[in-house]
Amino acid sequence: MSLVRLEGVTKRFGQLTVLDQVSLAIEPGDIVAVIGRSGSGKSTMLRCINALEPIQGGRILFEDTVVNDPATDLRKLRQQVGIVFQSFNLFPHLSVARNITLAPTVVKGIPAAEARRLAEEVLARVGLAEKIDAYPDQLSGGQQQRVAIARSLAMQPKLMLFDEITSALDPELIGEVLKVLESLARQGMTMMLVTHEMGFARNVANRVVFMHQGKVWEHGPARETLGRPRTPELESFLGSVLH
């Protein structure tokens, strides 16, 4: 069974169709890189998967849960699907530890001491064990983004969504975040990431999805799709990002 299936998903903002009959399946262990021009609907697709945006047509399945069914318990779904945003969105009034333990304690009811150990563990995975008692504004952008990843990991999700998580970072900080993504990939985490880092997409992702005008224009194995584009749109997109 696929972990996620999009079946003819259509999403509109008023008159504007942002996702147009998108169908896609993600298998456990997949690392899917989503690429495409600005405005092609990449972020929107990710946000629809954990129901941050409602859809107007088709359906989205997470395992056997219909995400867009009004009867679905979204809080349960979201515990299994983590998302990390371009702008980190840490809670500025809470320490790193509390940023991470908040959801495990109040959503899952994990005791405080255990949650603290969990925070230590996920921080170690992103290489920030020593920052556990810092506040977000004491961290660099790259460190904040790694804390945001740790915060999602602490919920032990089955799928992680990453929306251009290195785009807001200074170039010298991008590497440390990509390294964390690579190590997650090695550990077998299923992930879907919107990225402009073509080298990363080629080397780490096993599949690439090229979005164009709200449609999945091309998709397939990463190296093949990026190496030999079948459509002129992908070819020109790759030309514009590589040069």
Partner: protein, 216 residues
């Protein structure tokens, strides 16, 4: 019979100031509790609930406080209910404060970036949990200056209660002026006493703001 103002008059004015403080406190806490409720309804996910809260706020913000006071004091008397100036003023000022505080606090809640709601929703927090752990703590610091600003207005507006026979600072000033015929002196003292209540409030607000800023 006109007499000279004396020290006892000043003491009476100060004593009357207690009722100004008491009415302000009642209106602020009563209005604050109601205001929290109205504010929550105002931002509730269900639209009809939001409209009801909006109606309440518009009705109160769109009518003079004096008229609201008269409705509670004279209006109920018409239907045979005798209400004391205390009850009428307490209820009218609480309702008045609830509408303004609800709007002030809604603004502070909405000043918290939308991404904070999204990030907490994506972690599985429920709406009340998002408010309690993520949004309200951030809105709190933003809320201090406008809330204290309103409180200072409230202190001064309680003088309107003098019109329904509620004896507070302004009413006591009127009475003393009637006896001494020294309006300039007496109302000067009244003004100074209002200042003595309002100034420390503003100072406290600044201190609190700084403290919270340091403790982020």
């Amino acid at each position: 019979m006109i007499r000279e103002p004396n020290a006892l008059d000043v003491l009476y004015l100060i004593a009357a100031g207690r009722w100004t403080l008491a009415l302000t406190a009642l209106a602020f806490f009563g209005g604050g509790l109601m205001g929290i409720l109205v504010m929550l309804l105002r931002i509730a996910p269900a639209a009809p609930v939001r409209w009801a809260a909006m109606g309440w706020i518009q009705a109160i913000q769109g009518t003079p406080l004096l008229a609201q006071l008269f409705v509670f004091f004279f209006g109920f008397a018409i239907f045979g209910y005798r209400v004391s100036p205390w009850v009428a003023a307490g209820v009218a000022f609480s309702i008045y404060a609830s509408a303004f505080l609800a709007e002030i606090w809604r603004g502070c809640i909405e000043a918290v970036p939308r991404q904070q709601w999204e990030a907490s929703a994506a972690l599985g927090l429920s709406f009340p949990q998002q408010l309690r752990y993520v949004v309200v703590p951030q809105a709190f610091r933003i809320a201090i200056p406008p809330t204290v600003g309103f409180l200072v207005q409230l202190v001064k507006n309680t003088s309107l209660a003098s019109t329904i026979g509620f004896i507070e600072l302004t009413r006591e000033g009127q009475i003393t002026t009637g006896a001494t015929f020294r309006p300039f002196t007496i109302y000067g003292i009244v003004a100074v006493l209002y200042f003595c209540i309002c100034f420390p409030l503003s100072q406290l607000s600044q201190r609190l703001e700084r403290r919270l800023h340091v403790a982020r």
